[in-house]
Symmetry: C2
Subunit: 216 residues, 2 copies
DNA sequence: CGGATATTTGACCGATTGGTAAACATTACA
DNA sequence: TGTAATGTTTACCAATCGGTCAAATATCCG
């Protein structure tokens, strides 16, 4: 048959739907844990519970799997930033953005690590997405933040570096999870660490962005 | 022959000194860019400008290279945190810690990425270092920060998450460099981005940690 | 110099890599 | 039910992987 291979048919079968799901789930497991180059098709096949050629029947190459995964995850990943509302209350918008990003780090650590691995190794497969859609979205939201700062609702600050800081601090709990656990030790490495992190980060960002009451 | 292989001799020759240096330099290049599993001995050999067997004459395995590299870099990497002085002025200590970490991200991005790759993929080679020396150092400095908070010199906050935040925000500029550049665009992706980042992060952390003047 | 020691290399090894070919099994549907 | 389309597997491929070995070469030092 081979819709995936030749797209002879237009509709996708139930089996296709299921198997592709299975494969991408397994691929997420493997790619996020070992990076693209460090992963092998055999590993993905084993996790997915199917043979290698079977897997290659649905995705012709290792790259195709990776690409499908990236495409699927990228949109979801930017959802919290997209929800950033220019009309909302600045303090509350920032607070909820932090909370959402932290929830994603907690609930979807593999997705976070997938991107981290990719970007860390030079983003060879997603350079276009970074320079295109991502940059545009960030530019737009940076403008919102700049406007807030200008009108005195928050402190004057560089909106890009603010966004970078929220990204890095929140994703840290997914990407550097083993380090966080190791440092916190068994006593504090339970799920409570996300609540502690949320409390600290809100304090940090809300405090750090409080508009200057004195005239600097 | 073969000090590295059998340690028959006690002194290391000049050639050994030089070649090992050359190899580790090349290994840093490759490992930091592709992760341990994604790297090959051949790649390192090519960057080092020598043959693969020659390289394996100095380091018997790929793992040995990686371990030597980690060991060498780890100490240096924790230097800024070690310099954190309990007797100093809190605000100034935090400010200079941020600045130092940011300088390291700028001047030694490969070292940062080496660790990031390692930790991201579950820290299979440095788990002991994380749970031992790293945790101890962080515990010690966290106590310092806690004391500052208790005496009202800075705001009450979770010292561990404060340290995580400084780590993540500063290392972000090394580890996610391509993303930062992509988002900032060509206009703002020059070296000035580190100064902008420093300015923003100091504002964020100093502001966010300013002791409560009102009684919460 | 000359011999001992240290360094370097080309040829090679078995295992694993990403991927293919074709036979075989299953499913959907007229 | 029959058959064409779809799905799965076994056997295999060339390339690359980490690593070895013996022979060749360079260096050191008396």
């Amino acid at each position: 048959m081979a819709i995936p291979r030749a797209a002879k048919t237009l509709r996708r079968t139930r089996i296709q739907e299921e198997k592709e799901e299975q494969i991408l789930e397994a691929a997420l497991d493997v790619f996020s844990a070992r990076g693209f180059r460090g992963s092998t098709i055999d590993q993905i096949a084993e996790v997915a519970g199917m043979s290698k050629p079977n897997l290659l029947y649905y995705f012709r190459t290792k790259e195709a799997m990776h690409r499908a995964l990236i495409d699927r995850v990228l949109y979801t990943w930017l959802e919290p930033l997209r929800a950033f509302d220019a009309e909302g209350n600045p303090e509350e918008e920032i607070r909820s953005y932090i909370r959402r990003k932290l929830e994603m780090a907690r609930d979807f650590p593999r997705e976070s690590r997938l991107f981290a691995n990719e970007v860390l190794q030079g983003a060879p497969h997603i350079e276009d997405e970074l320079k295109g859609p991502l940059k545009e979205l960030v530019d737009e939201k940076a403008e919102v933040i700049r406007a807030w700062a200008k009108s005195g609702k928050i402190a004057k600050c560089d909106p890009y570096h603010l966004i970078f800081s929220i990204w890095s601090t929140t994703q840290h709990y997914a990407d550097f999870d083993v380090q966080v656990r190791a440092v916190l030790g068994q006593e504090h490495a339970g799920d409570g660490r996300f609540e502690d992190a949320a409390r600290f980060l809100e304090q940090l960002f809300i405090g750090g962005l409080r508009p200057d009451t004195s005239g600097t």
